[in-house]
C-alpha cells in the first residue's frame, strides 16, 4: 500500500531540523518522512479491523515531528517506523461489533482497551483515556496514538487498522471535511473544559490556528459565560476567531495592553508595560512555544491558570512570576470523558461531534492534497495561517491503490 512513513534515521532527523529552521515544514523534503509502498499492518486481534482513510489532517504535532522539533520525551512512547496521521475519517468496509460498514472517525489514543490490557489502568478506568498509563505496554508496540505506533499504521496512507473501541460512526449529514475535524475538536473541547473557566472570567486564547479556533468554539459552546480574547496574527484567523465566539481579537504585540485594559489592571512601567499587576483569569495556550508560554505568564493574573493545549517542547522560561504570583500551569492533552458545568459527563468525542456540526467546523479544512504532493501539503500546513488557511489534510479518496482493493 502507499503510505507516508516516518523512519528512524539520525542523519535525516538532523537534516529535517536544519531545514525547518530555514523554512517551517522544510523537514518534509529532507527528513525521515518518505512516501513508500509498504505492507498493510496486520490485525493484532479479532477486535481490530482494517479501515481505508478518506481524509487525514496535518496537525501541529505532526509538523513538529516532521521538522524534528518534537521533544525526545516521546521516544519511548512511539515505535518506528510509523505512518503519521491521527486525525482520520475513514471507510469501514466490513461491519464490526456494533458498527455497520460506513464512514468512521478514529479516536486515536491507544489506551488499555486497544492494548488488550485487563484490568485497565486507573486513568482508563476513570474514562481519562488520554492519561493512560499503559501506552507502551500490551499487545501492540508503544505508541501514544494511532499515527505514532508501528503496528497500527496511520491516516497518511491508504490503509490502517483500528480497534473497534476507537471507531465512531459518522452521521450521514457530516461531510468528510467535518468528520476529519472531530479529533482536533475533541482536543479543544478537552482543553476548554480542563481550564474550568468560571462565569464572567476573562480568558485569553493564545494562537488562532486550528486548535485555537476550535478552543474558542468549545469555550463558547460548553464553557460558562466568559469574555474570550483571542490572539491572532493573520486576517483570516481574526475573522474566524470572532465568528467562532471570541469577544475581541488582538495582534500578538497588542496582547499585554489589551489584557490590561480588559482586566482593569495597573501596570509597571512608564507608559511602556514592563509587567501587569493583574491580568486575565485564564490563559489557554494553543501554541505551546517558549514565546507563548512567556506571554501567558505575562498576562495571567495572580492565582490565575495557564492551560497548555498546544504541544510544547523543551522550553526555557523564567518561572519567577509563576512562583511569586501563585499561577497554576497545567496541561491538557487529548481527551476521554468530560464533566460539563452542569455536572453531566460525556465522552469528549460525543461533544466534539456536536460542536463540529453546530459550529460548521468542516469549513476549517482549507485545502487537501494527495499523498504524492506531501511536500507541498506539509509546507502549506506549516504556513497555514499566513496563507489564509486553517487545516490542511491529505485526501486519500482518489488514491488508485486504495480503490483497487
Amino acid at each position: 500500500m502507499k503510505a507516508l512513513r516516518f523512519e528512524r534515521s539520525i542523519a535525516r532527523f538532523a537534516a529535517a531540523n536544519l531545514a525547518s529552521r530555514l523554512s517551517p515544514g522544510g523537514g518534509a523534503k529532507v527528513g525521515p518522512l518518505r512516501l513508500r509502498d509498504i505492507d498493510p499492518p496486520r490485525l493484532p486481534g479479532d477486535d481490530w479491523v482494517e479501515v481505508l482513510p478518506r481524509l487525514a489532517g496535518i496537525c501541529g504535532s505532526d509538523l513538529a515531528t516532521i521538522d524534528a522539533r518534537s521533544s525526545r520525551y516521546f521516544e519511548p512512547i512511539v515505535s518506528f517506523p510509523f505512518v503519521p496521521g491521527h486525525e482520520v475519517v475513514a471507510d469501514l468496509p466490513t461491519p464490526i461489533g456494533h458498527l455497520g460498514a460506513g464512514r468512521v472517525v478514529i479516536e486515536p489514543v491507544l489506551g488499555c482497551v486497544t492494548r488488550g490490557i485487563d484490568p485497565m489502568c486507573a486513568a482508563c478506568a476513570r474514562g481519562d483515556l488520554g492519561n493512560c498509563e499503559r501506552i507502551a505496554f500490551g499487545a501492540i508496540e508503544p505508541g501514544l496514538q494511532s499515527g505514532f505506533c508501528c503496528d497500527t499504521g496511520g491516516g497518511w496512507s491508504t490503509r490502517m487498522i483500528a480497534h473497534v473501541s476507537q471507531l465512531h460512526a459518522v452521521p450521514e449529514t457530516f461531510s468528510d471535511e467535518a468528520a476529519v475535524m472531530v479529533e482536533p475538536t475533541a482536543c479543544a473541547v478537552h482543553g476548554a473544559l480542563a481550564a474550568d473557566v468560571a462565569e464572567g472570567d476573562l480568558v485569553v486564547v493564545l494562537g488562532s490556528g486550528a486548535l485555537g479556533l476550535l478552543t474558542i468554539a468549545a469555550l463558547r459552546r460548553f464553557g460558562r459565560p466568559c469574555t474570550i480574547m483571542a490572539v491572532a496574527k493573520h486576517p483570516t484567523q481574526h475573522r474566524l476567531a470572532l465568528e467562532l465566539g471570541a469577544d475581541s481579537v488582538v495582534l500578538p504585540h497588542e496582547l499585554t495592553r489589551a489584557v490590561r485594559r480588559a482586566s482593569g489592571s495597573l501596570a509597571l512601567g512608564d507608559g511602556d508595560i514592563i509587567r501587569l499587576t493583574g491580568g486575565a483569569d485564564h490563559v489557554i495556550d494553543c501554541v505551546g512555544s517558549e514565546e507563548s508560554l512567556t506571554e501567558a505568564l505575562g498576562v495571567v493574573r495572580p492565582k490565575g491558570r495557564i492551560t497548555m493545549v498546544g504541544m510544547p517542547g523543551q522550553v526555557s522560561v523564567d518561572l519567577t512570576g509563576l512562583w511569586q504570583r501563585e499561577i497554576t500551569l497545567a496541561g491538557a492533552y487529548a481527551y476521554g470523558t468530560e464533566t460539563l458545568p452542569t455536572g453531566q459527563r460525556h465522552r469528549t468525542f460525543d461533544l466534539a461531534f456536536e460542536l463540529v456540526e453546530a459550529a460548521d467546523l468542516g469549513r476549517l479544512v482549507s485545502a487537501t492534497y494527495p499523498l504524492s504532493q506531501f511536500e507541498t501539503a506539509i509546507s502549506h500546513a506549516a504556513a497555514a495561517g499566513a496563507r489564509g488557511a486553517v487545516r490542511i489534510a491529505f485526501d486519500l479518496r482518489n488514491e488508485k491503490e486504495r480503490n483497487r482493493a
Binding site: 488582538v250 495582534l251 497588542e254 495592553r257 485594559r261 489592571s265 512608564d270 507608559g271
Partner: protein, 531 residues
C-alpha cells in the same frame, strides 16, 4: 512691508510645490488649469519693544477692567495661569512670551506687596511639563524663585483635593476648575494666541478644568456643530466655554486676561530652513540647493535623528500684539490681530484639498507625531483653519502627505497606543467611539496614575483628537494619505497612496477626473476666509 497671503492659480509654468511631509519634504507638481495654492501672509511686523508693550497693556486694560496695578493688593491670593507646552508651535526662541509677561506681572505684584502668588501651567488634560519645558516657558529666574517652594505647578485635573465645582451653565454644563485658582482673589491668565481658537474663556474654562467639566464641550456633537472651531462666532466649542466663563464670572471668580499674538516667522529669514517660508517661484539658486541638500540629508538620516533635529528647532516668531483686561473684550481684539496674520481671502470651494503635514502638532512637542495626531493635525486643525466654509466642498476629498509611522511615545501617549490598537480596530466612527469607549479610558486608573505622576496625556485625550476630526469626517467623501505607513493609514480608516499622482487618481473615483484642487501651503499658518 510684508505681503499678504494670496491664492495662486497653477499653470504650466508653476514650479513644483512644497509639501511638508513629517520630518521631511516633498515637491509636487499640481495639475495645471485646475489647481490653486493658498499661500500664507509673510510675517507681519513684530512689536518693536515687546516689554514696553506688555507694561503698557497691564496698566491700560481693555473692557470692564481696572488696571492691573489697581487690582493687586497686599495680602491677596494671586494665581498666574499660563498656556502649556502646546503653545506656541514650534516652541519659540528664548525669551518666551510667557516669561516676558510673567516677569512684568510679578514686578507689579511685588511692588504692590502681593506675597501669596502661585503659578500654574494650565494644561487641562495635556501632559505635565518637564522642568526644562517650564524653565523655557517662564524663564530661569521665575522658575528658581517659585518651583523649589512648590509655587510653580502643573495643573492636575485629577486631583480631587484641588478642584472646585463652581456651578452649571444654563445648558447644564458643569464647571469645575483648579481650586487654588478658583479661590484666588485674582487669576491672571497669560496666553499665547497662535491661532484664533486659542484664548478667551477657553483659557480658564478649559485650561484649568477637570474631565468632568471638559467633557461637556470636548465631544463629537460640539465638534460637528463648530463650523469651524477656529471661528469663535461659529464655534460651539467656544459658545460652551463662554457659557462656562459666565458661570465663573457670576460666581465671583475674577480673571485678568493677558493675550498675545505672534507673527508667522516660523522658519526664519536666514539659514537653510528659511526656504520653507518662501514661495517656490522665488527660490534663489541657494534656496534650491538648500532644499535639495536638506531633502537628501534627511532621507539618509535615521528617523530618530531627523526627529531630534526638527524637535530641537526653536522658531524666531515674534510678538505682534498684547492686550490685557476683561476676558471677552481682550479676546475680540486678539482675534482681530490673529486674523491680520492668518486670514487669506479665497473664492469658493474645490473638489479636492491637499496639504503637507509637518512634524509638529500641539500634542507632540518633544515627542512623536503618532498616527492619531497625524489625523488630528490634518482633519482637526488644518481642515478647520477656515472662516465661512471649508475650501473643499462637502463630499470632496482630502489628500494629506505624511509618513504616518505606526509609532507612539509610550511615556507621553500611553492611552493613544491602546486607542489605536483596541478602539480604531473596532470602529472609526466618532459617535460610536464616544458612546462605547470614552468612559472606560477616561476613568482608567493606570492612565490616571501616569497623567498625575509622569508625563502622560490623560487617558481620554486620544478621544478628543478623534472628535477634533469629526467635522471633517462628516464633511469629506474620502481621506487619502500620501507616503504613509499603509497599515497605520488603513487603521485610521483612510486610503493609502504612494504618490500624489496615485492619490489624485484615487480621488477621481469620488470627485471625477477633472476635479478642482486647493493646496493649503501651511505652515506657516494660514486661515482660509472662504466666500
Amino acid at each position: 512691508m510684508p505681503r499678504p497671503g494670496f491664492v495662486l492659480d497653477v499653470d504650466r509654468s508653476t514650479p513644483p510645490i512644497l509639501f511638508h511631509h513629517g520630518e521631511g519634504f516633498r515637491l509636487e507638481r499640481l495639475p495645471a488649469g485646475r489647481s490653486r495654492v493658498i499661500y500664507p501672509a509673510e510675517p507681519i511686523e513684530p512689536l518693536k519693544n515687546p516689554d514696553a508693550a506688555i507694561r503698557h497693556a497691564l496698566v491700560n486694560p481693555i473692557g470692564d477692567s481696572e488696571p492691573l496695578t489697581a487690582l493687586l493688593k497686599p495680602g491677596m491670593k494671586l494665581t498666574i495661569a499660563f498656556d502649556d507646552i502646546s503653545l506656541p508651535l514650534p516652541p519659540m526662541k528664548r525669551p518666551d512670551i510667557r516669561q516676558r509677561v510673567i516677569e512684568a506681572v510679578l514686578e507689579l505684584a511685588a511692588a504692590a506687596g502681593v506675597d501669596d502668588v502661585m503659578l500654574i501651567a494650565a494644561l487641562a488634560l495635556h501632559r505635565r511639563m518637564t522642568e526644562a519645558e517650564l524653565r523655557h516657558a517662564v524663564g530661569d529666574r521665575v522658575y528658581d524663585a517659585f518651583a523649589p517652594q512648590g509655587l510653580l505647578l502643573n495643573h492636575d485635573a485629577e486631583d480631587p483635593d484641588n478642584l472646585l465645582f463652581i456651578g452649571t451653565t444654563e445648558k447644564g454644563e458643569e464647571v469645575e476648575i483648579n481650586k487654588r485658582a478658583a479661590e484666588s482673589d485674582l487669576i491672571i491668565y497669560v496666553n499665547i494666541n497662535l491661532v484664533s481658537m486659542d484664548g478667551g474663556w477657553k483659557s480658564t474654562a478649559t485650561g484649568l478644568a477637570s474631565y468632568r467639566s471638559l467633557r461637556h464641550h470636548h465631544n463629537v456633537r460640539t465638534m460637528q456643530h463648530s463650523r469651524s472651531f477656529m471661528d469663535r462666532h461659529a464655534s460651539e466649542l467656544h459658545s460652551a466655554n463662554w457659557r462656562m466663563g459666565k458661570v465663573l464670572k457670576d460666581s465671583g471668580v475674577k480673571v485678568f486676561q493677558i493675550e498675545t499674538t505672534m507673527n508667522n516667522n516660523v522658519f526664519g529669514t536666514e539659514g537653510p530652513m528659511s526656504v520653507l517660508q518662501k514661495r517656490e517661484w522665488e527660490w534663489s539658486l541657494s534656496d534650491r540647493i538648500s532644499m535639495a541638500g536638506m531633502k537628501t540629508a534627511l532621507d539618509l538620516m535615521p528617523q530618530r535623528t531627523r526627529r531630534q533635529i526638527f524637535q530641537n528647532w526653536q522658531a524666531p516668531h515674534a510678538m505682534t500684539s498684547v492686550q490685557a483686561g476683561e476676558v471677552e473684550a481682550v479676546h475680540e481684539l486678539t482675534t482681530a490681530n490673529v486674523y491680520k496674520q492668518h486670514l487669506v481671502p479665497v473664492e469658493g470651494q474645490t473638489d479636492i484639498m491637499t496639504m503637507g503635514l509637518p512634524y509638529i502638532s500641539p500634542y507632540n512637542v518633544n515627542s512623536i507625531l503618532n498616527p492619531i495626531l497625524v489625523a488630528c493635525l490634518g482633519l482637526g486643525y488644518f481642515f478647520n483653519l477656515y472662516r465661512g466654509k471649508p475650501p473643499v466642498r462637502e463630499g470632496g476629498v482630502l489628500i494629506m502627505s505624511h509618513p504616518t509611522p505606526w509609532e507612539f511615545h509610550p511615556v507621553h501617549h500611553p492611552s493613544y497606543i491602546d486607542f489605536f490598537e483596541q478602539v480604531l480596530s473596532e470602529t472609526t466612527d466618532p459617535i460610536r467611539i464616544e458612546a462605547e469607549f470614552e468612559k472606560s479610558f477616561a476613568e482608567d486608573e493606570w492612565y490616571r496614575h501616569l497623567y498625575r505622576t509622569s508625563h502622560a496625556y490623560h487617558g481620554v485625550h486620544p478621544f478628543y483628537m478623534w472628535y477634533w476630526c469629526s467635522h471633517a469626517l462628516q464633511h469629506l467623501g474620502q481621506v487619502i494619505i500620501v507616503g504613509g505607513d499603509v497599515r497605520a493609514v488603513r487603521r485610521l480608516g483612510f486610503k493609502p497612496a504612494s504618490t500624489l499622482q496615485d492619490a489624485l487618481e484615487m480621488a477621481s473615483d469620488v470627485v471625477g477626473r477633472d476635479a478642482t484642487i486647493t493646496h493649503i501651503h501651511n505652515p506657516p499658518i494660514l486661515m482660509a476666509d472662504v466666500h
